[in-house]
């Protein structure tokens, strides 16, 4: 009796779970929304990376258009993707390059209504035909940046070559008090090791990846930490001598340090990651017109500059250049000439990066 009741309960739970699991992800093909410029059709549910937009830009938008902007945050593309798939509805998301490709393939994005985004003409030429969405059918660049190395000149010295050797050459790193920190991110960290060895960061040969694994293993004694959250603080606190991290965070942290001249951010000559975050509207959006209006709003010359002067990432907005801080302009001018590469999705090979990083740490 007791058992049969338990069984029935278990079956019920199983049935509910199966229904819940099969929901989401099987939406029909997206139907393009028909909007006009400056049209709003409800409050904006904005799903963004944390500390990525000046709160005053949001307030100004709310006042201008009379809608509320509800912002929630994610810390990885994968976390954002799984939220969307679990059926939570957002009107605007900011996925990175490779994730746009995945979301287009899976039919998760609504086509942009370009009539509603006249400021699209402000977009710099470099961002008009990205490889993951060549006709800007579904996405438009938000900000871009690089992944490189923050260096403490007091601990490393002034005479160094801008190279991944600063983190991977044990003969070099053994002299650095505190050691170095690497991102706890399989694609970025294995990618950096691949670049140092002379391969592409999108290389999909297992032997090459094994070489990269052995490289990290050999360098591990001087790798103090694998950290994706606090590397900028560790660097300016003198906890580590060299930190692997994202351009905007590094520049902000260095600018706020007690002695900014003591630090610098470099792009290794072997090649670094260039990434582009993009605004896109998920198929489940309840207010696509508001979303397009918001995209248009951020592509405005002055608003784009406010965004960039606040988060210190690179601006894809050509018209905003006259309003930018000189510091940002100078920095990203260097980026344009640097040897960089964009991470692309490697499909089923992707799982190897995670396993090899786990193996390298063992």
């Amino acid at each position: 009796m007791r058992h049969s009741r338990l069984w029935r309960l278990a079956l019920l739970v199983l049935a509910i779970a199966l229904v819940a699991a099969s929901c989401g992800g099987d939406d029909d093909d997206a139907v393009a929304a028909d909007c006009s410029a400056d049209q709003v059709d409800g409050d904006l549910n904005f799903y963004n990376w944390s500390e990525y937009i000046d709160p005053e830009l949001i307030t100004a938008f709310e006042e201008e258009y009379g809608v509320d902007v509800v912002e929630s945050f994610y810390e990885s593309n994968e976390a954002m993707l799984s939220q969307l798939q679990s059926g939570v509805s957002y009107d605007l998301v900011v996925p990175s390059d490779y994730m746009i490709g995945i979301m287009i393939t899976e039919g998760l994005l609504l086509p942009l209504d370009k009539d509603a985004i006249p400021n699209l003409e402000n977009l710099a030429e470099d961002f008009q035909a990205p490889p993951y969405d060549p006709n800007l059918e579904y996405s438009v660049a938000y900000q871009y940046g690089t992944t490189g190395l923050g260096v403490n000149l007091d601990l490393v010295g002034d005479a160094f070559t801008p190279s991944w050797a600063l983190v991977f050459d044990p003969a070099l790193t053994a002299n650095f008090a505190g050691g170095v920190s690497l991102l706890n991110d399989p694609r970025e960290t294995m990618g950096a090791a691949l670049e140092y060895l002379g391969y592409s960061l999108n290389d999909t040969t297992l032997d090459h990846l094994q070489e990269a694994t052995d490289l990290i293993k050999a360098a591990k004694a001087n790798i103090a930490t694998f950290d994706s959250d606090q590397y900028d603080e560790s660097l300016v606190n003198g906890e580590v001598a060299v930190a692997h991290g994202y351009s905007g965070n590094m520049i902000v942290a260095i600018g706020e340090a007690d002695n900014p001249d003591q630090f610098t951010y470099i792009l290794p000559e072997e090649g670094a990651t260039l990434w582009i975050d993009n605004m896109a509207v998920p198929v489940g959006s309840q207010a696509p017109c508001t979303a397009f209006t918001f995209i248009n709003y951020l592509l405005d010359a002055e608003n784009g500059a406010t965004l960039t002067n606040w988060n210190y990432y690179g601006s894809p907005n050509a018209a905003s250049e006259p309003f930018l801080d000189q510091e940002v302009i100078d920095f990203y001018a260097e980026t344009a000439n640097a040897n960089t590469e964009v991470i692309t999705d490697t499909g089923s090979y992707e799982i190897n990066f995670t396993d090899k990083l786990a193996e390298a740490k063992s």
Binding site: A17, E78, Q85, P186, K220, T225, T354, S362
Partner: protein
């Protein structure tokens, strides 16, 4: 004469009715917890179980068809074994240290007067007033290169010590975090112990050590078992402490499972790993309880 026969005829029915009513009341009382457990425990668990038999698509989405055991086959990969063994050793070390530190302390509390006892218990619980994450970050400051510990050794003429981002730091953080979970059950067991039994042992010429070994220890075993389980299980899957204090320099089970979901987008394998860890924990707990069941 009729009354007794009436009673005989009615009693079983009445009893059954009363039983049914009690059972109905029981169901009503338990309803909130049933609903809560089904919604937030059973259903998610079943979803994890279902996902563990699914396939990762080439874009990293989970395909709920072509059910297979591939994810479970990967559990035999040497890398997984290595990670599991490392997590196991860390959990055993943490549990052993917690037990060694907590037992004398719980013994001390249990043998104080009521006022001192209450004060000491409050002291044990004070850390819970602030968030675990905040406390772990505080350890980061304490163990850092410029931290108080390092400054102390330098003031005493020693070398600066580097504890942050070492396995020792992880162990310190885990022992610190889970110590109260060991102290409280031990205290509860020792406190309700009948101390006259120890006196009796001493009267029968047992020395202090023998009295402890033959009387106190066996009687406190329920506390030892409960405390060990409360410490061992969370440390086996520990994620936050190794990441913050250990700098994620070695891969542990918690970190490995998270990376399957948030980096590799391999939900089937992440789910299979979770199911495997949960099964092992459940089996170990059942065995542990069985072994000490007579004292519980």
């Amino acid at each position: 004469m009729t009354a007794p026969t009436d009673r005989q005829a009615v009693t079983p029915e009445l009893e059954a009715a009363a039983e049914r009513a009690a059972s109905r009341r029981g169901v009503l009382i338990a309803l909130p917890s049933w609903a809560y457990l089904s919604l937030f425990f059973a259903i998610p668990l079943v979803i994890v179980l279902v996902y563990s038999f699914a396939t990762r698509s080439s874009t990293g989405l989970t395909q709920l068809r072509d059910w297979n055991l591939d994810s479970y086959a990967r559990l035999w990969d040497p890398l997984v074994g290595e990670i599991a063994l490392r997590s196991l050793l860390l959990a055993i070390a943490t549990t052993a240290i917690c037990l060694a530190v907590s037992y004398p302390f719980a013994y001390y509390i249990a043998t104080r007067g009521p006022t001192a006892r209450n004060i000491l218990l409050v002291l044990v619980m004070i850390p819970f007033w602030s968030n675990f994450l905040v406390r772990t970050y505080a350890w980061r400051v304490l163990l850092g290169t410029d931290g108080p510990l390092s400054q102390l050794t330098q003031a005493l003429g020693g070398e600066p010590i580097r504890l942050l981002f070492t396995n020792t730091a992880v162990l310190i953080g885990l022992v610190y975090g889970y110590l109260p979970f060991m102290v409280l059950p031990l205290y509860a067991a020792l406190e309700r112990m009948d101390w006259r039994l120890v006196e009796a042992a001493r009267d029968l010429y047992a020395d202090g050590w023998t009295a402890f070994r033959k009387v106190t220890w066996p009687l406190s075993r329920p506390g030892v078992i409960a405390g060990s389980i409360l410490v061992f299980i969370p440390t086996l899957g520990a994620y936050v402490t190794p990441a913050i204090l250990g700098g994620a320099r070695t891969t542990l089970l918690g970190d490995y499972i998270v990376s399957q979901f948030l980096a590799a987008r391999n939900q089937p394998f992440g789910s299979a790993l979770s199911i495997a860890v949960m099964s092992v924990m459940l089996a170990a707990t059942i065995l542990y309880f069985r072994s000490g069941a007579r004292n519980l």
